[in-house]
């Protein structure tokens, strides 16, 4: 019996040995990390889609989004050395035939690809960029090693800016590596960039993945989407009108901001010259500056509003307080003249704003005192960043009188917009405080950030940045500014039919770098207005920067008409009802009206200049 048992135990032992061997193989393959990876094992990173940037209208209206593309490069050496033999054919394909296949697949010119294939290899790098394509058929053809050789394929996410140059300064750009290099793209790069996925597995001799041998498969997590407060329709109108203004009046550059006066949300922001975001690397430094936030300049007479508002709030003056308009007092140190206005011996503070009197407001600022003026300017947000979510924001220049004494000239000139430097967004924010009954809101451009799974990562609620002046003073100031955009004010061309406008012009001399005075005849023309003045909804700031002498360098002549066009379009688009409906009774073609008014105003201004 014992002799018979081996017949049973032998096969059992064989099976046991086989089982142990299999188990050992399994353990080596799956558990032991030291096992050598075979040549056909691969690890591939799956790119995560970069998040999109949307308009305030939501997902239907993106400003920027990433689209998957394949990037093809040609390696002439690999193409020459490779032997490509299609299945069932005896002879390998010729170089010309391969080039023809590549050119046809990518829609390129055959001669061009052939020249690339025949070019000698360059030192340091051999591959030459062929094309970017999203065509899956082209990918299938060029990935087949039986048809072509020497073509390197890499997957890429190509950023597309659907509105072209519009909003380029706010959106910014991404570089070749997909990293944000300006604007929102840079500031929120971490949110926009997703987490790449991984695939690890085996592939066959033709480098095709064996799906049943896939070991690791981690899906990528797309980046978060950013929703801006920018309205794409208002933005378009702003850019078009600003472009019109720059061309019409011969300005070198210009910028414009439209802000919601109740929340501080930026509805549009444009800066010229602009740039093509896809060609950011080749753009000059001048075009890259977002002048709305990253450029300090002396504001000029638009600052008078702040000076007078501060003085009214402090109870120092009233709108009907009178000042002498003579310039003989040595305390005021050569205030700039008052242009071609016809002056009375005395002038009220209200008239000083309406006619933009340097002398009256300069005297007022001097008498008000540097410390009080400085404190009010800080309350209005000057000399510090507003906190808008855009990179490169400047502080402005507002010297502290406690640290650096303001001389007599500075004391009076700070009140009329010299000696201090501001950014456009600070100025807009200060006017927003006047529009919002004295409460300054923190300007913002990002409304919310939504993760790829739909969860809201961040939502920006309107935030107050403090009270600048009292509600009563703000209301009084708006009343004072009402006549600026009237036939007797400095900005008659800024009037919007049917709406009351509370604004102020500014014609600032351009300073010579290094504090060596001002250029003769070069100005920055600004108009900042609140519409409708009776129930403020929008604050619009327009500045045109002149590089050469022109007749239309004054804020009311050049920035005013741009303001009117922008404000008119935005008010109608937002369906804000007119507060002066009686002006609309007269049936006038609006476009024609604009033209007529422009021509009338031009004639009027010409007469003034001639006089």
């Amino acid at each position: 019996m014992r002799g018979e048992n081996w017949r049973f135990w032998l096969p059992v032992a064989c099976l046991a040995v086989f089982a142990v061997y299999s188990a050992q193989k399994l353990v080596r393959a799956h558990v032991d990390p030291k096992v050598d990876a075979p040549d056909y094992e691969f690890t591939r990173e799956i790119l995560a889609q970069r998040g999109s940037i949307f308009s305030s209208y939501g997902k239907q209206y993106p400003f920027a989004k990433s689209v998957p593309y394949w990037e093809y490069s040609l390696d002439p050496v690999a193409l020459t050395n490779a032997v490509v033999r299609p299945k069932g054919e005896k002879h390998p394909r010729t170089k010309e035939a391969i080039v023809k296949t590549i050119a046809d697949a990518l829609g390129l010119e055959y001669g061009r690809v052939l020249r690339m294939a025949n070019s000698p290899p360059k030192r340091g790098y051999r591959s030459q960029f062929l094309a970017l394509s999203s065509d899956p058929d082209a990918h299938r053809t060029l990935a087949d090693s039986r048809l072509v050789a020497g073509v390197a394929i890499s997957e890429r996410q190509v950023r597309q800016y659907l509105h072209g140059r519009h909003l380029s300064h706010v959106l910014g750009s991404v570089n070749a590596e997909g990293v944000g290099s300006a604007g929102i793209e840079q500031r929120f790069d971490r949110d926009l960039t997703g987490t790449p996925g991984t695939v690890r597995g085996l592939r066959d001799a033709r480098k095709r993945e064996l799906y049943d041998k896939r070991k690791v498969s981690i899906d990528p997590i797309p980046g978060s989407d950013i929703y801006l407060t920018i309205d794409h329709n208002i933005q378009f109108e702003v850019e078009e009108q600003l472009k019109w203004g720059v061309n019409e009046f011969g300005a070198g550059s210009g910028w414009c901001i439209v802000m919601d006066s109740r929340t501080g949300a930026i509805l549009a922001m444009a800066s010229l010259p602009d740039f093509e975001p896809l060609a950011y690397g080749r753009v000059g430094d001048n075009a890259k500056i977002n002048r709305a936030v990253a450029f300090n300049y002396e504001p000029g007479s638009v600052m008078k509003t702040i000076t007078v508002a501060s003085a009214i709030d402090a109870g120092f003056v009233k709108p009907d307080s009178k000042y002498r308009t003579n310039r003989d007092d040595s305390n005021y140190y050569k205030l700039p003249g008052d242009g071609s206005h016809v002056w009375e011996p005395t002038m009220t503070v209200k008239d000083a704003i309406v006619h933009s009197s340097n002398i009256v407001v300069g005297k007022l600022a001097y008498d008000f005192g540097p410390m009080r003026l400085f404190e009010y300017m800080r309350k209005f947000g000057f000399g510090e960043k507003t906190g808008i979510e855009l990179p490169g924001e400047q502080f402005g220049i507002l010297p502290d009188p406690r640290k650096r004494m303001w001389d007599k000239a500075s004391q009076s000139r700070a009140g009329i917009g010299q000696f201090v430097a501001v950014t456009a967004i600070q100025l807009c924010s200060a006017y927003q405080a006047i529009a919002n009954d004295g409460v300054r809101m923190r300007p913002y451009v990002v409304e919310k950030i939504v993760a790829s799974n739909g969860a809201e990562v961040f939502r920006r609620e309107p935030q107050t940045a403090g009270r600048a002046i009292s509600s009563k003073a703000a209301h009084t100031m708006r009343q004072v500014m009402l006549d600026v955009a009237s036939p007797k004010g400095t900005a008659r061309r800024a009037a919007v039919r049917g709406y009351s406008v509370a604004g102020k012009t500014g014609t600032a001399q351009k300073q010579i770098p290094g504090g060596r005075g001002y250029y003769a005849g070069l100005y920055r023309a600004t108009f900042c207005g609140i519409v409708p003045a009776s129930d403020p909804r929008l604050v619009v700031l327009v500045t045109l920067d002149f590089d050469k002498k022109t007749l239309y360098h004054q804020g009311g002549n050049s920035a005013g008409p741009v303001f009117r066009r922008v404000a008119k379009a935005a008010l109608r688009y937002l369906m804000i009802p007119p507060d002066r409906p009686e002006e609309l009774e007269e049936a006038v073609d609006e476009d024609e009206y604009d033209g007529i008014m422009d021509e009338r105003s031009k004639k009027y201004d010409m007469k003034l200049l001639d006089a």
């Binding site: 019996m1 018979e4 048992n5 017949r7 049973f8 096969p11 059992v12 099976l15 239907q60 209206y61 993106p62 989004k65 689209v67 998957p68 999203s134 899956p136 597309q160 659907l162 509105h163 072209g164 519009h166 993945e209 799906y211 049943d212 896939r214 794409h232 329709n233 378009f236 109108e237 049917g498 109608r572 409906p581 009686e582 609309l584 009774e585 007269e586 049936a587 006038v588 073609d589 609006e590 476009d591």
Partner: protein
Amino acid sequence: MRKNRKITKKMSVVAANSMRFGAIIVIFFVMVILNLLSSSSCTMLLKEKGEKERELAKLEQTRTQESTRWEELKTPEKIEVALLRHGLSMKLPRADQCVRMRADGTPLYPNQVSLRRARQPEFGAPQPASYRSKKAVVSAGSGRVAMPRRRKVN
């Protein structure tokens, strides 16, 4: 008798071992076949999965590109260009083309088209009986009630 019983016992041990061996062999082969079947089925499914994955990626790519193209067409600049190409121009209405009224339907300005005026029987041209039930259209600016045109029947 005793001898026979002994022989019977021996035969039964061999038969029993053979039965066990046979059963193990059968089970082993059945398992091998099942393994082969399931493995091939898995391979087929994974290949199919791979193809579907590729197809999905392709469709996803096409969808992204098409949606991008559509979104680009909807930009204000493209709409403006398209309108100009077709000789169309959009203008905001003149003030007299706008109907502004209070909540009770009275006109905001005198001599302006309003809902109340349009409803008054003495307002506008006399209405033919056949048209009375049809919806009247207030022509903007003119202050008259225009009747819808009859369709021509060929």
